[in-house]
């Protein structure tokens, strides 16, 4: 077996046969574990053998190569410029002699301690992370991700080892305040909501965002909850809400891995910088100043016809370069939301979730996962149980929590409040420490060590129930 790199691409010989790959993007795409989105884009390997040969050729490629051969042109794309211009050669030095295959061995080895992994972060580009993930098995992705430690903070501390946080997602199809509050109460009494209480608004405009931000701010203040709120509206709406005096904790934006994708989303890096500054100016964090919340997902670049022939997993990893520039509190890969034309079934969703979590953590992000599926995907609750468990083992930063797994606004299924408690019990994962103290104080946990909930409605919540139910509470 031998590899030759030529100016017009890559060749790799196995026995009598020589396989050709047009360029780095082609090699990465062909080396990607099978998924429908790359087939839809017409860039996937033609058969199983070509895929493995591409992985072999990729394994022989020096990491240094990625610094000289961007998959999206430097001149055309501000994310490529961000990746190249902010690459830290000093952090890169300890791994600069490695090939992609050697990098996998190094990551798995005891040389790559949590401290060392932290020190090389700024030297790893998204393409290097994506490349090595393509030749890693699921257990490799889990093992290395678990070694990566990423901690962030706003009103509590997210991402400590042995912890798993949850986003309480109280969506309602008409943004009805009482309906939303009912889901928030349900979530809090199931000990969810330490990552964020985050609403996807049904009516997406500034006035509605302000209304929901104020509503959540009142709840957090009234119960003195050590958590933060977010309305998942467009970044420019949040900037306007801040200008109008709304009590914004976190700024949300969906992000992609090419400039053209983000053009489609209607923002650029300067917009995010402006929003971050605006949120920081409010000084609402008490234990930290990570004020951004990003969501990503494989397939967004292809969906926006903005992928430059780059496979969807590499595009996804490039979105993490955007994320880490703005020191987010939370990054969430919404892995099964986009539909079966990008990730066909439970197997593809599971693989993508583990890849995204690994790449995000390796690059230094507080990586969570919306473990989810739509009804036209070939997936079900058992697939979600599997991915949730795998991500729990891998040290995933946070998951979603929603009543009974059913998002009645976005019409998809994600992890429930109960699911988070399952993960706590089987894996011993704790909520953020400040939030755990609050849960004990509010008597939501009867036994915080065993994650046993109070059998009664905690006293502090009875006045709220009386308010909504009159004398029936």
């Amino acid at each position: 077996m031998s590899q030759h790199q030529q100016s017009n691409g890559f060749r790799y010989s196995v026995g009598q046969r020589t396989f050709r790959f047009r360029n780095l993007a082609d090699l990465l795409a062909k080396a990607t574990p099978a998924r429908s989105g790359d087939r839809l884009a017409g860039i996937a390997a033609h058969n199983a053998e070509e895929r493995v040969v591409a992985q072999m050729a990729l394994a022989d490629l020096p990491l240094k190569h990625f610094l000289q051969d961007p998959v999206v042109p430097y001149e055309d794309d501000e994310i490529t410029r961000l990746i190249i211009d902010e690459h830290d050669l000093q952090a890169f030095a300890p791994i600069s002699h490695l090939t992609v295959g050697g990098f996998r061995d190094w990551l798995l080895s005891d040389l790559a301690s949590p401290e060392v992994l932290t020190s090389i972060r700024a030297g790893v580009t998204p393409e290097m992370a994506a490349a090595v993930s393509k030749i890693m098995r699921n257990q490799d992705l889990i093992l290395v991700a678990k070694k990566c430690q990423v901690t962030t903070a706003f009103r509590n501390t997210i991402g400590l080892a042995g912890h798993l946080s949850t986003r309480l997602q109280p969506n309602h199809p008409t943004d009805d305040i009482t309906g939303i509050a009912a889901s928030i109460l349900d979530g809090l009494l199931y000990a969810n909501g330490d990552a964020v209480i985050g609403i996807n608004p049904a009516t997406d405009n500034v006035a509605q965002a302000c209304r929901l931000i104020k509503m959540m701010s009142e709840v957090i203040e009234h119960y003195q909850i050590p958590t933060q709120s977010c309305v998942l509206t467009h970044v420019t709406n949040t900037i306007e809400a801040i200008e109008q005096g709304a009590p914004v904790d976190l700024v949300f934006q969906s992000i992609g891995g090419t400039q053209a994708t983000n053009d489609g989303f209607g923002f650029n890096l300067a917009t995010l910088a402006e929003a971050q500054d605006a949120a920081l100016s409010l000084k609402r964090g008490t234990v930290g100043d990570n004020v951004m919340y990003f969501e990503t997902g494989q397939g967004s670049a292809l969906s926006a016809d903005a992928h430059h022939g780059v496979d969807q997993q590499t595009c996804e990893a490039r979105a993490y370069a955007v994320a880490r520039k703005f020191k987010p509190l939370l990054v969430n890969t919404v892995v099964g939301f986009i539909g079966p034309e990008y990730l066909y079934d439970g197997k593809e969703i599971t693989r993508a979730g583990l890849e995204d979590h690994f790449c995000g953590k390796l690059l230094g992000l507080p990586m969570g996962c919306d473990v989810c599926y739509t009804n036209h995907a070939n997936a079900d609750q058992n697939d979600m149980d599997n991915l949730l468990t795998l991500l729990g083992v891998a040290g995933c930063t946070f998951i979603m929590g929603i009543p009974g797994s059913d998002d009645i606004m976005l019409n998809y299924q994600t992890t429930s409040f109960h699911d988070a408690l399952y993960a706590r019990r089987v894996l011993g994962l704790k909520p953020a420490p400040e939030f755990a103290v609050w849960l004990e104080k509010m008597e939501i946990f009867r036994n915080g060590q065993n994650f046993t909930l109070n059998h009664q409605v905690p006293d502090r919540f009875n006045p709220s129930l009386s308010r909504v139910l009159g004398g029936n509470a």
Partner: protein, 280 residues
Amino acid sequence: MSKDFPTHPINDPVIENPWEVLRGFTDARIGLGRAGVSVPTRHLLDFQLAHAKAQDAVHTPLDSQGLIDNLKQQAWCTESVLLLHSQAEDRAMYLQRPDYGRRLNEVSQQQLNSLSQPKTPYDLAVVIVDGLSALAIEENAIPFLHALLPALTQQTNPWTLAPLCVVEQGRVAIGDHIGELLKARCVLILVGERPGLSSPDSMGLYLTWSPKLGRADSQRNCISNVRLAGLQHQDASRKAQYLLNEARTKNLSGVQLKDRADDTVLEQDSSHHSFLSAHA
């Protein structure tokens, strides 16, 4: 299901949540109670049934011939009804190749090309597409058209209709291809929407003025959630008639054609105080 808390929970494995009564304020699955920390059997199976219905809605084929026979019995039906097929041969291909679902196959293209064209172009082509829920079409297409088509053909300045089309394995944009080949001034697509857990039968309506291949989604107007438990057929028909007439007056559709019929709906309670704060 309201009951007192068990004082000795060991005797009753399921712990009920007294705030279950708040389900009167939301369709969210709140207050499910728990067995240990897990979802109790009854709610687990309710969920499984909802998911089963949603999956069946995606995978059950549209009974096209039955639909066409039924359409032809309606007084408002066009003289002929055409059965067309996209380039996606089956459901597995349909789900993985949305591009195939947006184009007619060769046979259907020839079928439309061989039709004799009217002297003046049709005002409107109505296209019924299975989409992601045949159930939505079977339950909603005829009752909706029963309200809409007589209204359109009997209003002052009536609409002329191209032959009704029924499309198998189609997506919204296939209406562009059909509208272009029929040389219709406007196309209205009735399509089975992606089923939600509690709404396997939701039909969507998409209006595109001057349809042709390559139209962007921003050039369409959408009316969503048409079903018995959602937007009623009469209401959907009124909205569609309003949008169609506006589109014809302005010669366009999409983001520039604002659905003012929605404005009243948005005038909701603007308060932000909830029962979870002392301000309520």
